[in-house]
């Protein structure tokens, strides 16, 4: 691990207005995952869909980062890009996703080398029942993953390890569950199985894409408790993708707000929810129903997401729906993330350490 010679030269995107950090502070908080300027588009018959533009944020070891936004904001595309599961129609125009493993080596997740082993990432998906092979026993599916990671693993040993994993995700009566098929299990149990499958990959980073959507509230809470517990037990970091702000509020250390393929705000949960700076974040929080809201109190964000197939997308993709519009908002270049004054640090390390950044020319005061 190399130390940066001086804090100012740490990263080309030193944000304005941020308090500069010392070299020591920088070294201590080198992030596990650093996403830098990821720009991605899909080539389709009806044009290029500019799914992600200049996506930049980081994840520290052991923390839970929430990525929130409405449908179509690019959250899932981002996760697929990190896992290397993108369609052949996807083209990464620019950007890096630097992943630092526990042994100190680094990888660019977006450009996997063919001879390298798979990076220690795992992902769990929405609707766990359809995400599991319907005609294969749960135990067999676990054994498949275990044996693909360890070529010499025998059937019996794999079964033992599978049973242990099932136990770790708090499923009772493990032998019976191992011999069951996904359709014989409830949604919550299937999600636990999914988590067990992810754990079999010994991940250092877990990406959870809407893991609790479609589950009832009690099960939701139980699953999130499990994820948090596993995180703390093994130092595994988590990226939690969700459209549910309440869920993010409960479980995440920091939140990344996305809108139409852009990161619009990043910061500690308390800061984002307590004092949002981006008009979109503010609206998102305002529209989240609370326990005592009446129908009349419910708010909505006017307008729709811009059509990402358009040739000329505006530098700020929220400008069509924003009520704090300034003439400057229509001018290029694409608005970059900048530190909210007085929230600490400089550059990448500062963001990882908990600085509050916003990409807006007229942030909410």
């Amino acid at each position: 691990m190399t130390l940066a010679p001086s804090p100012v030269a740490v990263t080309p995107r030193s944000a304005e207005g941020c308090v500069v950090a010392t070299a020591a502070e920088v070294a201590a908080s080198v992030p596990q995952l650093e996403l830098d300027g990821l720009t991605l588009r899909f080539r389709t018959r009806s044009g290029d869909v500019h799914a992600l533009e200049n996506v930049t944020f980081s994840v520290r070891r052991g923390e839970i980062v929430g990525v929130v936004g409405e449908s179509g904001s690019g959250k899932s595309v981002l996760s697929l890009a990190l896992m290397g599961l993108l369609d052949t129609a996807a083209h990464i125009d620019s950007g890096r996703a630097t992943f630092r493993l526990a042994d100190g080596s680094t990888r660019d997740l977006l450009r996997p080398g063919r001879r390298e082993a798979r990076p220690p990432l795992a992902m769990i998906f929405q609707s766990p029942r359809t995400a599991l092979n319907p005609i294969r026993k749960v135990g067999q599916q676990l054994a498949d993953v275990l044996r693909s990671r360890e070529s010499g693993l025998g059937a019996k040993a794999a079964h033992e390890r599978a049973r242990e994993l099932i136990g770790r995700v708090k499923i009772t009566d493990p032998e019976r569950r191992l011999a069951a098929y996904p359709f014989e299990m409830s949604g919550g149990m299937c999600q636990r199985v999914m988590i067990a499958l992810a754990l079999a990959c010994r991940p250092e980073l877990l990406i959870a894409d809407e893991p609790t959507t479609g589950l009832d509230v009690t099960t939701q809470a139980a699953i999130m408790d499990l994820v948090r517990e596993l995180s703390h037990a093994s130092g595994m970091s988590t990226i939690l993708i969700t459209h549910d702000l309440n869920l993010a509020a409960e479980s995440c250390d920091r939140i990344v707000v996305m809108h139409a393929g852009h990161v619009v705000e990043v910061g500690p949960t308390a800061a984002i929810l307590g004092r949002p700076r981006h008009p979109y974040t503010a609206k998102l929080i305002a529209t989240t129903p609370r326990a005592r809201s009446t129908l009349a109190e419910l708010q909505a964000i006017p307008g729709n997401l811009p059509d990402l197939r358009a040739q000329e997308l505006p530098p700020c993709r929220f400008s069509g729906r924003c009520d704090r519009l300034l003439p400057a908002c229509h001018e290029p270049p694409v608005v970059a993330l900048a530190c909210v004054p007085g929230t600490g640090g400089g550059g990448a390390a500062s963001e990882a350490r908990g600085a509050h950044l916003v990409a807006c020319r007229n942030p909410v005061p």
């Binding site: 599961l85 998906f125 498949d144 993953v145 693909s148």
Partner: protein
């Protein structure tokens, strides 16, 4: 297999049988209706075109055609139970005996054609699905579209022209074996198998050479729906969520493709196999005519042209029963392959 699994499968077979029985009943009823209840004088049919008035009356009395219809039906059932399918006018032999003697020829042809169609069609479909937009994919799509529009008798004729007349690779379409050779000892009725069992590989090769073109004619048409269904099913499965999960979990390409994707994609292909077999049983008649193949199809055909009705009726009945039993087999197989079916998800 654990006791629970065996019980599940047994239940499945019982259920299948319960479903098959009404179909079998329907088959029997329809074949009865075809002969007795349709317009025209059935006695005249069975007596033959050259019969005199008295002969027709005689036939009417012998076959009990002057009795009321429900009684006739019961007689029919009783005859069936005895295995009496009537007697052929042209040969004078019992229909059941003649059909039993000729069935192996048809079955050998059908099974080889089905094997060929599956061996080419299914992998082709898989290849086309895993390489969308490639040459293989385009070829598969064009091929299946054309294949479905191919008249099977025309394919046979074209193959004879190409491989017998032009290239000289195939033998003359004179039936199962060159007329100068003796057929092998009848153990299974399948010439190729019998010749091998007899220790005569040269004869087996000869029988195979004669089989090649008719089987190919059938297979070319049968492989189209198989390839098409395999491709569609595979494409659907490859885009499914659980395949994405399998990839995300780092399973090898082979595991994902074969164990996860293909096995799931196979389910609708099984159903298509059943329909393909039904098609083959019918198309058999056409191919047997083109290649002078001495099977049940050509037997029924010769009888049909000669207005000899009993063999035709027997043929329709037996084909119907065969198909019902085949569907039963496929249903049972399905229960083995798809646990959701077996355990009533």
């Amino acid at each position: 297999m654990p006791a629970d699994g065996a019980r599940v499968v047994a239940k499945r077979i019982a259920l299948g049988l319960a479903n098959a029985l009404p179909s079998l009943a329907g088959v029997v009823v329809i074949t009865f209706i075809l002969t007795r209840a349709l317009p025209g004088d059935p006695a005249a049919y069975f007596a033959g075109p050259a019969a005199t008035e008295e002969a027709v009356e005689q036939v009417r009395r012998t076959l009990g055609l002057d009795r009321p219809l429900p009684v006739q039906f019961l007689d029919y059932l009783r005859e069936l139970a005895r295995g009496d399918l009537g007697t052929s006018l042209t040969t004078g032999q019992p229909v059941l005996e003649e059909m039993a003697a000729r069935l192996p020829a048809s079955l050998e042809l059908t099974l080889v054609a089905l094997l060929l169609a599956g061996a080419i069609g299914i992998p082709l479909g898989v290849l086309a699905a895993t390489r969308p937009g490639s040459l293989v994919d385009q070829a598969c799509r064009v091929g299946t579209t054309v294949g479905v529009a191919l008249p099977v008798f025309f394919t046979g004729v074209l193959l004879i022209y190409a491989f017998y007349f032009l290239l000289g690779w195939a033998p003359a379409p004179l039936g199962r074996l060159d007329p100068l050779l003796d057929p092998p000892q009848a153990l299974t009725g399948f010439y190729v198998l019998d010749a091998i069992l007899q220790g005569d590989p040269a004869l087996a090769a000869e029988a195979l050479r004669q089989l090649a073109l008719p089987a190919l004619a059938l297979a070319l048409v049968a492989m189209a729906p198989l390839a098409r269904m395999t491709r569609a099913s595979m494409l659907g499965v490859l885009g499914s969520e659980f395949v994405r999960t399998a990839r995300a979990l780092g399973l090898s390409r082979f595991q994902v493709l074969v164990v996860y994707a293909f096995r799931n994609a196979l389910l609708p292909v099984l159903t298509t196999l059943g329909m393909t077999f039904s098609f083959l049983l019918g198309a058999n008649v056409l191919v047997e005519k083109v290649f002078a193949w001495p099977g049940v199809g050509s037997y029924a055909l010769e009888a049909l042209i000669a207005s000899d009705f009993a063999p035709v009726q027997g043929f329709v009945l037996i084909m119907g029963i065969l198909y019902v039993l085949l569907n039963l087999a496929i249903d049972t197989l399905y229960a083995f392959v798809d646990p959701r079916v077996a355990r009533g998800a």
